[in-house]
Symmetry: C2
Subunit: 296 residues, 2 copies
């Protein structure tokens, strides 16, 4: 049996079929336009003439989303700022054209479950997956299950220490100003330094970025005690960033947890994802597999 | 069948037998002296002549503790500052005199599982339990399982914004200075205001205390998305504190999550525990029950 995957992003959607990293058979990418048109294209992908049938389709979606299965709007995007997409019931609309079981989770949880199955979190029961891109998000697993709760983690919005004397930048979060995302997201980098992250060469920029991300990571370490932190996303492509974060996290933990003894060293504790751009689609396939198994 | 419970605190140990809040049959309290003497008294309680046998004994312990079942030191207290107790293998020593299965977790996770079974977290799958006493700790459940990971949550040590202009107090944490515990624990209150929390009447003290606790809670909300937060401990006995925290959390969340819609209102979202001083013992009984079931 093969599975279907939809990586439902705010900029593009990726649809695929397969069973894992060595078996992704078909793949289509299209821009995120209106909900109607975008969802119609996804349905068409799975219903093409002669298309191989899938046992289930997993959707990893941009958010915020409604994950409570008990809610009538389960499978919806809720209060997104993206025009036209507020309160779009993605699963409801997909169900009109796809007649296999559908699984639904956040894009970050999809990437997390993929890294758990095939990547940097293999064999762990509790880990946290952070993505630092335009915004900052997180997902992960606790005791081998994806993190679900009131909504889903909104890690980007945690409060962080911000010394306005040494760093007067007010932050870009429209809700909180200088929350973690407000100070350290790709959008914050652009606003603070006047150019895209990949064009920033000023050493101070990356030292400051590592400072804030390390503070966020230390909050996650102490609040959850994950066995590992996987951190990816576009901003993390700056090569100096992860080593700087390693050094800063050790300083901030200040020996309270013996990361060498407990986790085998900081560079085994805070790691880059290994599945790259395919994590979202692969995670959606894994969501579909779990869903199909639960429907047998 | 009845179950045994040990609430292993740094100041006192409580041993009990029973099945739940309406059935706590025997109870003994003694001071925490040396590990040998303290553990001998616990063993004696369960081995008294004519004592009713228990199916299993649960232990909720002060920490930090080793919870990884794969570790040879599972069931130990690790790097506690408490003299004589460093690297004490509580479970190993108890096993020498108690021949029923033993369960082991943190004191906070024990209280959390008791509130889940009989108290303020009934019916929830994901919640966070915070205790604000001499120190600040947390535990909880995600997807119906207690939070375990690299170690266990060490919530007191999360970094928090600290404006040294308006609040020059440096904090009391020997590791981090002005982490949450350093600024807002009972010990911090005492050091900052020169008297025990229950004697502090200055309104500014409780406004500041609510500020820091609210920041910590908002970090937990965004990092984990719990369905509810249960917050207790000696410091929370100040009656104005919980309402102040409610107000401050709403200000800090700033509408990013609709707590009325998602959680039925802030006073249903952040609540006091209901089991009071019995939560630790009751949680240990619940740990024992789960352990006995898994040994059938």
């Amino acid at each position: 049996m093969i599975y279907g995957a939809i990586e439902a992003g705010g900029t593009k959607w990726v649809c695929a079929k397969g069973t894992g990293p060595d078996d992704l058979r078909e793949n289509v990418v299209f821009s995120t336009t209106t909900p109607e048109e975008t969802i119609r294209r996804a349905i068409a992908f799975f219903n093409e003439n002669g298309a191989e049938p899938v046992a289930a389709v997993g959707v990893g979606s941009f958010g915020p989303v409604e994950l409570r299965v008990s809610s009538p709007s389960w499978g919806s995007i809720t209060n997104t700022p993206k025009p036209g997409w507020q309160n779009t019931n993605i699963i409801g609309l997909l169900e009109e054209g796809i007649d296999v079981p559908l699984a639904f989770d956040t894009d970050v949880n999809a990437a997390a479950i993929a890294e758990h199955r095939w990547g940097a979190a293999r064999g762990l029961s509790t880990f946290y997956y952070i993505t630092v891109g335009t915004g900052i998000g997180a997902g992960g697993m606790v005791n081998d299950q994806l993190m679900h709760g009131l909504v889903h983690p909104e890690f980007g919005h945690i409060p962080v220490p911000h010394d306005r004397d040494s760093d007067p930048f007010p932050g870009v979060c429209p809700f909180h100003g200088d929350c973690l995302e407000g100070l350290a997201s790709g959008e914050a980098l652009r606003a603070r330094w006047g150019k895209q992250g990949e064009l920033i060469t000023d050493d101070r920029a990356w030292a400051l970025e590592a400072d804030y991300l390390a503070i966020g990571i230390v909050s996650a370490i102490f609040a959850l005690s994950p066995q590992r932190i996987v951190i990816g996303g576009g901003v993390m492509k700056q090569p100096s960033l992860l080593p700087r974060i390693h050094a800063r996290v050790l300083e901030l933990v200040a020996g309270y947890i013996d990361i060498d003894e407990q986790a085998g060293g900081i560079d085994r504790y805070i790691v880059a994802p290994v599945l790259g751009d395919r994590a979202g689609v692969l995670g959606a396939i894994e969501l579909a597999r779990a869903c199909a198994l639960s429907h047998v």
